[in-house]
Amino acid sequence: MASVPSPNMMLRIEDMGVTYPGNVLALRPTTVDFHKGEFTVLLGLSGAGKSTLLRSLNHLVLPTAGRVISAEFGPLNSRRTVRQHRSRTAMVFQHHQLIERHTALQNVLTGRLAYHGTLRSVLPFPRHDLELALHCLERVGLVDKALARVDQLSGGQQQRVGIARALAQQPSMILADEPVASLDPATSEKVLGLLRDICREDGITAVISLHQLEYARSFADRIIGLANARIVFDAAPAELQQHHLDEIYHGRTNPTPIPGTPPAIQTQPVMPQPTHLEIAR
């Protein structure tokens, strides 16, 4: 299983599996390498295991089998290595996970915490961090909202603050867990485009979970398709065939299609109900 790591390997999962309490199998033992500068989309339906895979990459979900190996810090096997790895691996969340009553700037500064000792971080952040945070807000086009409370921003703007917070970590890798699932299509495309452009410019490796095929096709360098807690596809978007899609999008509900009745081509899976709609303010 363990192949020789390629020189541009950033992160490897090795026979890593996750079983949740109650014997719920979320991800079968899997080995995958993520490479430097690659924009990888994890594609699959809810419950296919993409969130579990993504969140285990920084041990927000603890693998119950196998291990995660960072090229920079080695296997994540201690509090210290996990913290080091997390400081260089930023995360963007579906529900942005900002502190709503803080300003955009204050939220972005959270990304700087790992660069300071506990005692130092009780004091105000140094000027260098403030300037960096402002610069990150500028890159996502929100420098004019730096002092606005986050709960005053629209859904798309909140997610951009989430991206700015990730950038403030000066990460070598960004993990994004369904970053556009709560946004309308136009905003989704804007946010994903922004994320990809930034990752390209800075050479940041990105792993992004999505359930919309068309976004995966237009943004990804590499698509990893998941169904039934395992990887069913792993290649460039161009190599994605209809039978792969059938497996990704029907794997759970219809594992053995009845011969003679071709499964419906579901290029646009049903969107989950957005938990909050973007309201123009």
Partner: protein, 276 residues
């Protein structure tokens, strides 16, 4: 299975019967619960002689006499109450400050989601319950015995007793914190204390301020009675006038306290609104 009812036709009779049975059972249960509560109230009232209307009626004239004797309020010594009133106000502020200062660290130990260990959680909760269950008047008596008469024992008693309630409410605010930004700070590689300081504390500050200001208002009211056990303040004057049966002066002091409480109350209401 033919029922005489024509509508609703789609309902099969067996399930609908069981649903209606269940519904009726629910109603009967509510009825008996209400009856039980009323019975308990009745027995308790009878036990404390509240239903002994003759004794109650005999008491009315005595209350009337007392009210007559306290009118009109006598404000001739009003200037002597200024300093005790300031004592009372200062006592309530200092007592609340002690309570808040001790409660913040205790609350993180007493909140399920931030406590380092279940044992620490249980011990801290027990300490908070203990502090809450000793009335401040009893604490006042103990502290008067320990440090002598004056405002200081009042401050200590108010502070210590308040920790019980303030610490518990702070801990509950921490338990209801939105876990999402906490996870985000965690994912950014923050240490445990950094997470508490930068992701938990900002979320609970409005509730902390709200509870603290409410507690200050409560402590002001409580500190008016602290004087009764010799712990200084306006309550001390009130007790003195009561002892020498100067009821006109008693009513005057009560009016002054009422005015002060109203002022503190509106100020605290105003402050609490600002922290939303």
């Amino acid at each position: 299975m033919t029922h005489t009812t024509t509508e609703p036709a789609t309902l099969s009779p067996a399930p609908s019967a069981s649903v209606l049975d269940e519904h009726a059972r629910g109603w009967r249960k509510t009825f008996w619960q209400a009856a039980l509560v009323l019975a308990v109230i009745f027995v308790a009232s009878w036990y404390v002689d509240l239903l002994d209307f003759r004794t109650l009626a005999n008491g009315v004239p005595a209350i009337g006499t007392l009210l007559g004797e306290s009118l009109p309020p006598d404000f001739t010594n009003a200037m002597d109450w200024v300093s005790p009133l300031i004592d009372t106000l200062a006592m309530s502020i200092a007592g609340t400050a002690i309570a808040v200062a001790v409660s913040v660290p205790l609350a993180f130990l007493a909140a399920r989601n931030t406590s380092p260990h279940p044992a620490v959680f249980h011990i801290t909760r027990t300490v908070l319950n203990g502090l809450r269950s000793v009335p401040e008047l009893i604490m006042g008596i103990i502290f008067v015995a320990a440090v002598g008469f004056g405002a200081l024992p009042g401050v200590l008693a108010l502070g210590l007793h308040s920790i019980g309630m303030v610490g518990k409410f702070f801990a509950e605010a921490i338990e209801h914190v939105d876990a999402a930004p906490v996870e985000a700070a965690d994912a950014a590689g923050a240490t445990r204390l950094q997470v508490l300081w930068h992701a938990v504390l900002p979320q609970v500050l409005p509730q902390f301020a709200d509870v603290s200001i409410y507690r200050w208002e409560y402590n002001f009211r409580a500190s008016t009675v602290m004087g009764m056990v010799g712990a200084g303040g306006i309550g001390f004057e009130l007790m003195g006038s009561l002892r020498i049966m100067q009821y006109q002066e008693v009513s005057a002091i009560l009016i002054v306290i009422l005015m002060m409480v109203t002022m503190v109350d509106s100020l605290s209401g105003h402050l609490r609104k600002k922290f939303k």
